[in-house]
Each structure stands twice: as C-alpha cells, then as structure tokens.
C-alpha cells in the first residue's frame, strides 16, 4: 500500500501550477496521464444529530485514476465504495462478482453519491462540490507527484499537490519527499500551505491494496476543509 501525502496551497493563483511545474522540471523523469477529481461536502439535515458542527459533515471523493471507486470520509472513518459493474465487465473485482453470485448485488452498483442524492437527501444535503480538471502527473525518482487546480462553483479555490510513494512503506522517506516538494514551493515563493500525511489505516490490521485511497481521501479532507 503506497504512502501518500497531500499539500494544499490556498493562497495561489491558477498560474501557480505552471510555476510549480517549471521548478519540478529539474527532477522530472516522465510526464504521466492527466487526471481529475471531485470533492463533495454533505451536511446532515437531522436536527438533533449529536456532536459539533464538524461531526455533521461527510465528504465524498472521486478520483479519475481510480474511476470505479469512491471514498466517503466522515470523522475518522473512511469508506471505500465501488460502482464497478460486475455484469459483463472484464475488469470487475472478483469480490463484486461474488456478491452477484450470492444474490446480494444485482451487478449494477452505482456511486454512493447517487444513493445520497436520490434516496437520502432528506438526511444528507450536498453543500458544495470542488472540482479539479485537467490535473497533471509527474514521475520523479521514487515517487509520483500529481497536481491540480481546484475550483468551486464560485471560483478558484487553490492548488492541490499529491505525493505518492512508488513502493515501500517508509515514513521517513515520505517525509523527505514532502520536504522536497515544500522546498520547491518555497522556491516559487509559496510559504503558506497545509500538509497532511495522516493515515487511517493501521499496520496492525490487514488492508486491501486499494485502502490507500481512504488515507488519500482523508488527507484531502484534512487540507481542504475550512
């Protein structure tokens, strides 16, 4: 399971991405695929829902590089949901197929956002959608950097930078990578940013490879919620 970290620069302009790309060019090995993401915030409509105002929020994240998966984040819990249609799909996860075989699933799952917006909208209301389109990915020595300009319906929100370790599970190594990226940001005179490399997964329990997305989503929530 790769270790990840997310940096978010709120005090940026859409052009900051270009500056960052230029400074990254020195350590660049190759340019990878483009990507996009969606970040939705839901707020509960239940009047006597316990907890403070942050407990009433729930987030959903979709990444184009894991198209069939989405993550719901609520507090310290992250759910990995699949909308991978098992029926007739070659790429289908065998676990989804087993659900169909045992009559649990019809084989036409959809995203959890659809369930929230169609069936549970009296309990959960979608507040805002942050979108990033035409993100870029760069491979450097030992890690992958993805960066993207994030917009809300009202305008530019900031620059998100995602650092993904290729292999290994080395916290110190990831910290080195984060420091490198921070150094690059300072090089283009960006000094204010939020970083998160928190993990919800624990090394004590067994996790499936895709669970790294839960950590990643949690990190996005940590740096982007405000």
């Amino acid at each position: 399971m790769p270790r990840t970290a997310v940096l978010f620069v709120e005090r940026a302009t859409p052009a900051t991405l270009t500056d960052f790309k230029d400074s990254l060019a020195n350590v660049l090995l190759s340019v990878e695929d483009g990507w996009s993401m969606e970040f939705r915030t839901y707020r509960t409509q239940i009047k006597n829902y316990p907890g403070d105002s942050s407990a009433k929020l729930m987030y959903s994240l979709n990444f184009s590089f894991e198209r069939e998966l989405s993550v719901m984040v609520k507090g310290q819990t992250a759910l990995l949901l699949s909308s991978d249609a098992a029926a007739g799909a070659l790429s289908a996860d065998p676990r989804v197929q087993r659900l169909v075989d045992s009559d649990c699933s019809t084989g036409f799952p959809e995203s959890f956002d659809n369930l929230l917006s169609s069936k549970l909208s009296n309990m959960w209301e979608q507040r805002q959608v942050l979108r990033g389109d035409a993100g870029e990915s760069f491979r450097t020595m030992g890690y992958l950097v993805r960066c993207i300009n994030v917009f809300s319906s009202t305008g530019f929100k900031g620059l998100a930078i995602q650092v993904e370790q290729d292999a290994g599970d080395d916290e110190a190594q990831l910290q080195d990578r984060i420091d490198e990226v921070k150094e690059l940001l300072r090089g283009i005179s960006i000094t204010e940013f939020k970083v998160s490399s928190d993990r919800l997964t624990s090394s004590a329990t067994k996790h499936s490879p895709n669970d790294y997305l839960c950590n990643l989503a949690h990190q996005y929530v940590r740096v982007m919620e405000s």
Binding site: L79, R98, L99, S105, S202
Partner: protein
Amino acid sequence: MVQQLSLYGSLDDASYDLFVSTMTTVSGNPPIAFAKLSTVWIPNPAFQIEGVNTKNQLVEQTRIKLERKLPLSSLTSDDDGKSPAKYTHSIVKSLVGDDIPIEYKQLKQHIGELPRKADPDAMDVDSEESKPVSAAAFDDEPWCVTIADIPAAGNNRKVSMQTINESVLMSHVGPDTSITSIMGGLGYVFQYQYITAGVKFNLKHGLVVELQKIWNVSESSKKQVTKGGFLIKAFINVGKATDIERMNFTESVLLNLQKELQGYVDLAVPDRKSMDSRMGFE
C-alpha cells in the same frame, strides 16, 4: 439504478430434486449454491428526520439493506471433510429445520456490534480449533448497500418491477469502525437480520431462477420462514429503465418461463406491499 423484473412462487421440500433436475436440463447449467447474510437498517427513531429535503421535495424514509456473502461451509456443522467440493447444492436440500449452525452472536460480529474475541490463537493458521467460522475470516468480503423502491403499481402487471439503488462497500478503515458505527453515522440503526441459503440457475437472456430458504435469526431463536418448502424467485435485472425494448423483451422472457412451468410451479406477481421498504407502511 437498476430495474428488477421478477416473478415468485413456492415449492415443497419433497419436490426439490425434481425441480433441480428439471432446471438443470432447461438451463443447461448445474445449480449453484449460495448463502448470504442480510441485515436491515432503519432511520434512527431518536432522530428528527424531515420528510422533505432542502429543495422541498418529498423524500420518504426507507430501510437500507446490507448484504454479504456467507461461505457454504457455515451452513453445515459437520466439518470432517475440508474439501470445498463437498459443499454442493445438496447442503441446501438438507436444511429442512429451524436450526442452522450460525449463531446470533456470530452475525453480530459481522456488523461489529459485538467485539471479536481477542483470541491470540486466531492468527495461528495451523489451529483447527476454531470450528464455528468466525466473522473475522470474512472481513475481506464486501457488503452490498441496497435501497429498493416499492414495486411499480398497476392492476394488470404481468411481472413485478422494482427499482433498486445499490452501491458496494468494499472496505472501511479508521480506528474502531464497524458496520454499526458507519450506519450510525449515516443516521441508521439495526432492525433485523436474516439468512438466505439457496441454489440458483443462470438461464439465457440474463434470467436467473433461485430456490431460497430463509431463516430469521434473532437473539432468542432461529426460525425458518420457508419451513416445508422453498421460495422460488425468477428475475432479470435491466441496467437501463429507459431501454423500453429491453424491458419488454425481458418481460416476455419471464412470461415464457411462467408458461413453461405452468401447472408444475405457479409463478406469480407478489403483493407489492410485501416488498415495500419504506418506513411507516408496515
């Protein structure tokens, strides 16, 4: 959103062999045995939940069903042979009584309401002791989260037609998360659970015919709802409800099956109210 077109019927225990061999011939495929755990959740009654959303649209409160596959080995307490080949559809035939070797406590472990025993031996692969298959072994199995509408109304419906929304919960992470805490966070609490064991036949055009036995498993008792017989469910799932041609074709496939089995097994449209998952319509 998927449309499920279905017909239901029943069969007595004694007719099981004949029906299975008939369907094997008709479908050209051997029967596939399966077992699943279904848990049903309702909006937390302690919460004040409005019947409308912020756009002032009426949204009725509905139950949510979470289902997960159970291994066939959990249906039998006799564990002398370890070969998976032993677990054929004959297991389903043998389950005639109220009792199944699945305990209420075990099921509660699936949804994390009861903590799993902190058993140091549990990690030991050589340990043959753990006879009742513990829920921890299936943590890898995903859950299907389903919200179904009441079947479409109409007096002269030839088949039942139900809209189903579902998503697949692959895994959950975080300190102390469980299905119960997740559903609690969503505003739902546990209502009841049941176990289904059955055999299914895959026929042409996506037609599936299932024989099911269902048990209510409550804290105090286990009760077979289908005692003395089987529930027959014949269905086809259509991914797009807007595909009218496909819907009409699907209906004719089901009606053909109904005709073919006529006089032997009567497949009929169930009362739509019995398949209503909305709250307050019990």
